[in-house]
């Protein structure tokens, strides 16, 4: 197998820091995601996982350091900008509207109408009056449904009875699958999943982990935040450990074991314990 870590990473943070008032949430963290890999981001509560993800997703900016996307220097100001680069985040609460069906949820905010295919940021290119008029033109349900079905089929999400069911009628695993399918619908390149298997049963966890693997098989870079080391060792290629805002180490799965990772999460493995120097 060719070492996929030789080339340019899809996404890379170089020495990023972020503080909230007196709290230093992230300190000079390097993090990278390569196409076709699943990288797990682990750490105890307050380790800085969410801060790192939200910085990448454009919810807030980093104080220092830089973000590279496909080798280019980028500054991401908003979730919309992140999405137009091809970075999608699936948050833990999934952000699905229970009363809408699967298709409506997958295309929410980017409905296909008036013959213009929905692409990220397409609305920015249409100016003035036309942009408002679009909100009263008929939605092209058929194109949306076809694309939703084909995406779900490509991801082998097979347990859904119909894409016209309201999301409320789906199981936890199916909802997670829909949320993930929604994220990859937009030619995304990096998909970040926040606790995708939390609160799922055994069979549904398996279903979601398979799906995560398939995303990487499609050459996407997949970042998984999780507390469940068992799941992580099953699905991840690399495991990045954060502790108190510092990066402890990035392990390759085949070169480490759960014990070593737990040790890194709880005690740190560097000469000095990160965070103690301040």
């Amino acid at each position: 197998m060719v070492d996929k870590y030789g080339g340019t990473p899809l996404l890379e943070t170089r020495s990023v820091s972020k503080s909230f008032g007196a709290v230093q949430a992230l300190t000079r963290v390097d993090f990278d995601v390569f196409p076709g890999e699943v990288i797990a981001l682990v750490g105890d509560n307050g380790a800085g996982k969410s801060t790192l993800i939200k910085g990448i997703a454009g919810i807030y900016g980093f104080d220092e350091g830089e973000v590279m996307f496909e080798g280019r220097h980028v500054t991401i100001h908003s979730p919309r900008e992140a999405a137009s680069l091809g970075i999608e985040v699936v948050y833990q609460d999934l952000a699905l509207a229970d009363n809408l069906d699967v298709v409506a949820n997958m295309f929410l905010g980017r409905e296909w109408n008036s013959g213009i295919p929905p692409t990220t940021g397409a609305d920015h290119q249409i100016g003035g009056f036309k942009k408002y008029l679009r909100n009263l033109l008929p939605i092209t349900e058929i194109e949306m449904e076809k694309r939703a079905v084909s995406t779900l089929n490509e991801l082998a999400v097979t347990t859904l009875r119909s894409v016209r069911l309201p999301v409320a009628a789906l199981s936890g695993g199916q909802r997670q699958s829909v949320a993930i399918a929604k994220a990859v619908l937009w030619n995304s390149k990096v998909v970040i999943l926040d606790e995708p298997t939390a609160a799922l049963g055994v069979a549904q966890t398996r279903q979601v982990l398979n799906l995560v693997r398939r995303l990487a098989d499609r050459n996407l870079g997949v970042v998984v935040i999780s507390h469940n080391l068992h799941d992580i060792f099953e699905v991840a290629d690399r495991i990045c450990v954060l502790r108190l805002g510092h990066k402890v180490k990035t392990f390759k799965r085949e070169e480490t074991d759960q014990k070593e990772v737990v040790h890194a999460i709880t005690a740190g493995q560097l000469g000095t314990v990160p965070g103690m120097s301040q």
Binding site: L94, N99, L108, K146, N153, T158, A169, R213, R218, N219
Partner: protein, 431 residues
Amino acid sequence: MSENVNTPDAPVQSALLASQSAQSPTEFVSDALRRVRSGEIGTLPIILGLIIIGLIFQSLNQNFLTPRNLVNIVIQMAGIATIAYGMVFILLLGEIDLSAGYVSAIGGVTTAILLRDSLTNPAMAWMNEWSVIPVALLATTAIGFLHGFLITTFQLPSFIVTLAGLLAWNGVVLMIVGDGGTVNIQNQFVRNLASDVQTPFWTWIIILLFVALITALEFMKAASRRKAGLRAKPASIIIAQTVLMALAGAGVAILFNANRALTEAAPPQAGMPTIAVIMLGLLLVLTYVAENTRFGRYVYAVGGNKEAARRAGIRVERIRILVYMLMGFMAGIGGIILASRLKSVATDAGGGNLLLYVIAAAVIGGTSLFGGRGKVVSAVLGALVVASVENGMGLLNVSSGIKFVVTGLVLLAAVVIDALSRRQQQASGRR
């Protein structure tokens, strides 16, 4: 990229697509039955309710189910239904507008006052119904904007802001109508709005067009879905629905076209009330807006999960303001219809049980008070129930005390049915 999708799953992979493409009539019926069992009862209880109401009142008073009285009910429900159209959108957001009754009165009183002034004040003589009605609707839409602006800018509960509106707009109506107590409407157009009828010929044409339009849309939708390889409604089902709808339409047309003059000697009186045509037109337009446009989709999304809507890039606050403006607009139309029915606007306009009837109509029709679930058609169906009960009790000459109690009970029954259907949906995993 896509060839990497793992092959072991390949046999099952097309399962989703396969289940989409073919659907036989029996599958369709069993699907519909399953939806009903899992609590998606839709308009079923209301149709049962209407039959029960019809039976009860007819057995108590022979005049209830006469063409004459049924047309009365249609005219009585028009104002309520029109305002309830707006209320459905508000309820879809998961909010409420308590000021709708008095905002509708603002629409009515503005129309009445400006039309009166156009007769008395030479400087305003140029004003006629085509300038006055837009001004009135502009005013009520602006009031809706004000409510929405306050609610979204200061993040206030809609309940409180519109409660303030309820008081304040009542006050404004009192101030405008003034000591006179009543403003009469002389303008023929506005006077005839609620009482005009179409000729029997046009009644048939309008109902025929309505049935044909819905059938054509259903067939076109099914055909294009089938062409795209998606699950489509079977033609036999559409034909069955059309036959039912055509029969019902024919029944309604015959009813509208029956002579409803009081005596044999009197000049014959027949035809569909124009107000019913307006109600149908609004129903079509607003159903399209709610179910086929982005705006409508976003209203449902905001009512279902505001945070999800926000993250999807929907400008939630703008949608909310627009819905309050729509509410104001519909209240304005409703107010003009109500004024037309009385041919005047008095100080008590918009008061009494109007607001309650409007909310009751939307909820009885099946729109949830909890947001995100409901249809525009529920406004008409609910208004028909409310007006029937009111009318039936009027025929029985019961006291207004009993009227209020019965209307309250009907509303309560509707809310209980809503809650029960929600629970049933939860039990079958359709929260």
